[in-house]
């Protein structure tokens, strides 16, 4: 690229990411979250002491996206796996990356108890209101009336309940250092989310506390919406149900 010689690179692929191509659908926020996490790891210079715990979900390969040690956890158990790693090697920085089916349905108990014990881990919680990987079933976070393959008429709160607000739930506990909800639907929110992920990691490294960063994300495939429309849906609808911002900051 001879013409770039007078130019400096101002945005490069984070060094802590491997070269592997993401397996996500076009426009999926999982990729963006991966990049943000990579940027944060770079910024804090912790690539060589970080362990990524990948969930079962579309992010099942997450352990391979990073030039960090990584482990693939059973569906819903990433927080327990992260606990095991952190307790065994407290000097490591442990990131549990989980979807909403993983964290808020099958992993509810592990999520709440890891938070309640104040495990010194960082949980990245990707709330895309659907089970992406298995083909678009209802998640605990699916909006009232939202259609999914397992609620073809839309989520009926009378029999399926209302969307579970995880950050709010975790914020009722005494131990967590930092609980926040972020979104990625435009550049401003991407920047804020980046800050939040960094802070959560910093708290783990410096204060040895528990953080949950809930990220309201899209699933263009599951929602059957083009990516840009999905972003607008987040801005206009989803963030009404899942208000953004910090819920707890005891750092």
């Amino acid at each position: 690229m001879p013409e770039t010689q007078t130019l400096t690179k101002v945005f490069a692929r984070p060094r802590s990411l491997t070269d592997k191509r993401f397996t996500y659908c076009p426009g999926c926020h999982h990729g963006l979250i991966t990049r943000i996490l990579g940027s944060a790891i770079d910024k804090l210079g912790i690539q060589e002491k970080t362990v990524i715990v990948a969930p079962v979900g579309c992010a099942v390969f997450a352990y391979e996206w990073f030039r960090c040690d990584g482990v693939q956890a059973a569906h819903g158990r990433a927080a327990a796996v992260a606990t095991g790693i952190k307790r065994a090697r407290p000097d490591l920085t442990v990131v549990s990356y989980q979807g909403d089916g993983d964290l808020a349905a099958i992993g509810t108990a592990e999520t709440i108890h890891a938070a309640n014990r104040g495990e010194a881990i960082t949980v990245i919680f990707v709330n895309n209101q659907i089970y992406g990987m298995t083909g678009g079933q209802m998640a605990p976070t699916t909006l009232d009336g939202q259609r999914a393959t397992s609620c073809p008429e839309g989520r009926d709160p009378a029999t399926m309940g209302h969307p579970l607000r995880v950050a709010e739930l975790i914020a009722t506990l005494a131990a967590p250092l930092y609980v926040t909800r972020q979104s990625l639907h435009d550049a401003k929110h991407i920047a804020q989310a980046t800050q939040a992920v960094e802070k959560a990691l910093r708290y783990q490294v410096e204060k040895r506390g528990y953080s949950l960063v809930e990220i309201v994300a899209n699933c263009p495939t599951g929602w059957k919406m083009p990516p840009q429309k999905a972003n607008e849906h987040i801005a206009g609808t989803v963030t009404k149900v899942f208000p953004l911002g910090d819920l707890v900051d005891r750092g």
């Binding site: 397996t23 996500y24 659908c25 579309c58 099942v60 992406g132 990987m133 298995t134 495939t221």
Partner: protein
């Protein structure tokens, strides 16, 4: 009589649907049939293929080592399945997307510009139906009408009217474009 077809392409090219319609057509004609998709990774994207076996007796293996007909809707599919076509079988190559031609001389090659033909019909999405028409012709065991009926049943209510018409025309076009029988 037992015949097997592999439909292969990118996800989104509609090869699974084309295979399903063939399976339904066979059932409607009183044949035994199996349709087996590569249900692939628990992930999005990538390639897709399915195998349809038609027979006048109960079908054993739904996996077929040497299909009689292979429909390759894109390059990677041709690369993958070319070598497996039965000696004397037919490879239908979507020549709109694939410039390469099979190297084997013991199979018949049909170069079918499925996307171009579909575009000519004013509906790019019916490339798979064009291809299915070709498959039905190559296979030679089902009347085109069976495929048309099955297509209608498969697409259901939404296929009434114009959409049905264009799909039917696509099937016919593919059928017409292709020489009958295997080699």
């Amino acid at each position: 009589m037992e015949r097997a077809v592999v439909f292969a392409g990118f996800g989104g090219q509609g090869v699974l649907l084309a295979g399903k319609i063939l399976a339904r057509a066979a059932m409607d004609e009183g044949l035994e049939v199996t349709w087996l998709p590569s249900y692939g990774p628990e992930m999005r994207g990538g390639t897709a293929n399915c195998t349809v076996v038609l027979s006048d007796e109960p079908i054993g293996s739904p996996i077929v080592e040497s299909p009689d007909v292979v429909l390759a809707m894109n390059g990677p599919s041709l690369d993958r399945f070319e070598s497996r076509v039965a000696r004397g079988g037919t490879v239908i190559v979507n020549s709109s997307l694939i410039s390469k031609r099979p190297a084997r001389d013991d199979v018949r090659t049909v170069a079918l510009p499925a996307n171009d033909l579909a575009r000519e019909l004013g509906e790019p999405r019916v490339a798979n139906m064009v291809a299915l028409g070709a498959v039905v012709r190559a296979l030679g065991v089902l009347p085109l009408a069976a495929a048309t009926g099955a297509m209608e049943a498969e697409l259901g209510a939404k296929a009434r009217g114009r959409l049905f018409e264009v799909n039917r025309t696509a099937l016919e076009r593919g059928y017409a474009q292709t020489g009958a029988g295997l080699i």
